[in-house]
């Protein structure tokens, strides 16, 4: 614990920057790819299953999965939980728009962590243990439970929110958007992006119904 704290303190700047960057690439990039790929479900089980098989046939699959998805997620999420330590919420007392976004970013992050943990367990690790094939039917079966279905609606929406609002923060954090006008414009831009991604994500989800 002490060693972790010391490491965090000594490399504070680069760790924070890496935390911010990891949310955009690879995680944000993967999120976009993942939501779009899922949309193949709209063309029916066969097309969707073909896409999954294609992904499963990729060379260096494990390296890709661990290097670009699992490890970055754990890095981003666990550090995120560490940073939460300094959080003292006051959005009720100072109810400004940005303050709400600040609070929602943290709240969504925690929920999304649970969602992703469940999602990855269900469709990636549990199936690996049981040997069950990962395909359209597996997803459709799971989503036939309305509780799980609406958990996914919530999870996808919050994940996209966390990503889109995170992009806004990324632009400030890296000194890309500096003045209030630039920050406002980027806010609208990422809101639009978020809406599009939520649409794509939920549309694909409904294709499994």
């Amino acid at each position: 614990m002490r060693a972790v704290k010391k490491w965090l303190q000594e490399n504070n700047f680069f760790i924070r920057k890496l935390h911010s960057l990891s949310g955009v690439v690879p995680l944000g990039a993967f999120l976009i790819e993942h939501l779009i790929t899922n949309s193949f479900a709209k063309f029916g089980p066969e097309v969707y299953n073909q896409k999954i098989e294609w992904f499963q046939s990729l060379p260096y699959l494990y390296a890709l999965e661990y290097g670009f998805i699992f490890i970055p997620i754990l890095f981003h999420a666990l550090l995120g939980f560490v940073f939460l330590w300094a959080w003292s919420d006051n959005s009720a007392r100072y109810p400004y728009g940005r303050n709400w976004m600040y609070t929602l970013q943290r709240a969504s992050g925690m929920i999304v962590f649970v969602f992703i943990a469940y999602h990855v367990w269900e469709f990636r690790f549990e199936t690996q243990l049981t040997g069950a094939p990962v395909n359209f039917d597996l997803v459709a079966n799971s989503l036939s439970n309305p509780l799980i279905f609406y958990f996914y609606v919530l999870g996808i929406t919050l994940t996209v929110f966390h990503f889109a609002n995170g992009l806004w923060g990324f632009c400030v954090h890296w000194g890309i958007t500096v003045g209030p006008r630039a920050q406002k414009l980027s806010g609208f831009l990422f809101l639009a992006l978020g809406l599009v991604l939520v649409y794509i994500g939920l549309d694909a989800l409904w294709a499994f119904r």
Binding site: N12, A86, W87, W174
Partner: protein, 251 residues
């Protein structure tokens, strides 16, 4: 002839020192046109009797300039942090609640110790070193544009509003806060101050520095001097990012 006198109701958080538990006391102060929270506190000092007639001690608070340039009389009024000298009674809903700022060690009643803010200014080297063993001569000229930006930033009175409203500033974090960061921007902008630009950037790249900012942007909302604090922070994000790349690739 009895004229019913208009009064103003106050609810004040009292606390003898940081060890004792706080309690609330209410006061009715005779209304006068144009009065503000400071003048009301003066009235209480003259006659420290609560609304239900009990004699009590004087309320302790800080004030100095009475024109919103010193920052000393900052407190939480009706739930929002601000200066009490410019808090006009006519603009406040009653009962008017007065509380000390929550982010600093309490001294007594409404009085707190803002030392952490001054320490932050020292930490970030918010000054321009011009002392030497010989006369350094005139410095470079300041452009009119830089003057204008710098003037606004120089109005900071270290009042503490920005950090009081900051969710990232508390006793679990060592965050230096928006005010100190904005001073780094001011001195990095100055043509003579620029000579220590990287030194100052180093001071805010460690823990408790600029990376502790969570972009809630409350600081800019509550700053009584309307200092563009979030622009200062984002500008420093740019400066530290570029300097960070320089450190990686030039060493």
């Amino acid at each position: 002839m009895t004229e019913i006198q208009k009064t103003v109701r106050f609810k004040i958080k009292r606390q003898k020192d940081s060890e004792t538990q706080p309690h609330w006391e209410e006061f009715d102060i005779p209304y006068r046109a144009g009065m503000n929270v400071i003048t009301a506190l003066w009235d209480i000092a003259k006659n420290p009797v609560t609304a239900n007639g009990q004699k009590t001690t004087q309320v302790a608070w800080d004030a100095s300039c009475l024109e919103e340039v010193c920052g000393a009389c900052t407190m939480v009024i009706n739930g929002k942090v601000r200066q009490s000298c410019t808090a006009l009674i006519d603009h406040l809903s009653q009962p008017i609640t007065l509380e000390p700022m929550t982010k600093f060690p309490l001294v007594r009643d409404l009085r707190v110790n803002r030392q952490r803010m001054f320490d932050a200014l020292k930490r970030v080297k918010a000054w321009i070193p011009i002392d030497g063993t010989y006369d350094l001569g005139e410095g470079p000229k300041l452009s009119a544009q830089e003057q204008q930006i710098g003037y606004v930033l120089s109005k900071c009175m270290t009042c503490g509003c920005c950090v009081e409203a900051c969710p990232q500033y508390n006793d679990r974090s060592e965050f230096v806060g928006a005010a100190a960061l904005s001073q780094v921007r001011l001195f990095n902008l100055h043509p003579t101050g620029k000579m220590q630009k990287e030194e100052r950037l180093e001071t805010i790249m460690g823990s408790g520095g600029i990376e502790d900012c969570g972009n809630s942007q409350n600081c800019v909302e509550v700053c009584p001097k309307e200092i563009p604090l979030t622009t200062s922070i984002a500008e420093l994000n740019r400066q530290t990012t570029l300097y960070g790349f320089k450190k990686i690739f030039q060493k």
